[in-house]
Point group: C2
Chain length 230, copies 2
DNA sequence: ACCTGAACACCGTTCAAGT
DNA sequence: ACCTGAACACCGTTCAAGT
């Protein structure tokens, strides 16, 4: 009489289901909670089974990241006024990374390369619709994309730092603001003066203000250098 | 007769020496090579000794990151024309992260918060010297800082992806450019058209172009909204 | 073809024991 | 006070064995 093995699950495992479960763990418990053992438990299977569908952890993170970004690309449509479409798209990326902060931490990983292509395409297309000449599309697009990713990364950082402590975001900001306010105004005149703004600002508003700033710069530079022979 | 223990080292261990060694490992062998065992071997001590000086790995990474950023703040002076000073400072951050790509990956970690204060102070001060009104300093400064960090993060990503493969940066870029060129122009008209620019562009130049774009935007918005009653 | 779960080589961290 | 190095509880990944 052999010892009873754990009964085989009926619903088949698949890379899709694994990535789905991984995303849920990342969203709810954070990056450090995503282990193959935890994942296996969630899916009531063995860790080896996961490795049959997923090459390794990097592959898993890559696919999950790609999923989030692909969804943004698909869900945020660009069929209106280009300026508004661009703001909406940027905001879509912002919100996606806000909802899945771990994606911001994947910035420096492979998966982004593929997704970034789609992002560049979208941003470039909208900039072109705004009248940016083709030769300026690369630099302008790169500036927009870099800015968006920079904010995303910082936001991911804040989300990470804030949550572990248990305090929510506004309490966290208030704490940093208080620290800024306490700085010696002689040594840190600017930051000292920013404390109140830091405490009260809205991340999304500030993000959009930055997008508008860059668009204004693109418009200014573009008009200034608009080549006559074109 | 007791078995001979490893002779006690004469030069005292210190947090400073540990962080120095850690930085060297990070720079030369990459982030994955930094383990307490490797570090202990480099310093010919035990892993426990390191934990006596350094709370944990996070503390170690934080201190190393802070060191790099502090050095940039100290070495890049700002005593000339504000616009040039700002470009030089941004470039200083760019180069530092280019030289220590692992710093870019620390973006979403605690250590940055302290260093970021100094960065905001410097950038804000220069923007003010450029004529940006105080109330606009926070948003403008945030835009500049976010952009710089975004580029830094992406560069760290490229450095990471490129080096493991053994190919150097230009070969890596050529590969990605070739991939972009191969894309269906009907589906990816913009990115397809950017392939040549991607292959030939200079990272530093493009970075500075972005800084200039943002500065142009700040100037434009500032002039447009310059309040008469001030 | 797909899954199980023990085994392996590693990791950060702790800690009794030394000097 | 500072250091040593074994021990502990983890981790990703592999793999013989099952169905």
């Amino acid at each position: 009489m052999t010892p009873p093995r754990t009964p085989r699950r009926t619903d088949a495992l698949s890379k899709e289901r694994i990535v789905e479960a991984a995303t849920r763990i990342l969203d709810t418990e954070g990056e450090s909670a995503l282990t193959f053992r935890a994942l296996a438990a969630h899916l009531s299977t063995g860790s080896g089974a996961i490795h049959w569908h997923v090459a390794n952890k990097s592959d898993l993170l890559a696919t999950a990241t790609d999923g989030v970004l692909t969804r943004v690309l698909a869900e945020v449509t660009s069929d209106g006024e280009p300026r508004e479409d661009l703001r909406a798209f940027a905001l879509g990326l912002f919100d996606a990374i806000d909802a899945h902060p771990w994606v911001g931490a994947q910035l420096s990983r492979e998966p982004w390369r593929q997704a970034l292509m789609g992002v560049y395409e979208r941003v470039g297309g909208l900039l072109r619709a705004l009248g940016v000449p083709d030769r300026a599309l690369f630099d302008s697009g790169s500036a927009v994309v870099s800015y968006v990713l920079g904010v995303a990364g910082q936001n991911a950082a804040n989300a990470r730092i804030a949550t572990p402590g248990g305090a929510d975001r506004s309490a966290f900001l208030a704490g940093v603001a208080a620290q800024w306010a306490r700085l010696d105004p002689a040594e840190y005149p600017v930051v000292h003066g920013m404390a109140a703004q830091l405490r009260d600002h809205d991340d999304r508003d500030q993000f959009l203000a930055g997008v508008d700033l860059i668009l204004a710069g693109i418009a200014a530079v573009h008009e200034a250098t608009a080549d006559p022979g074109r």
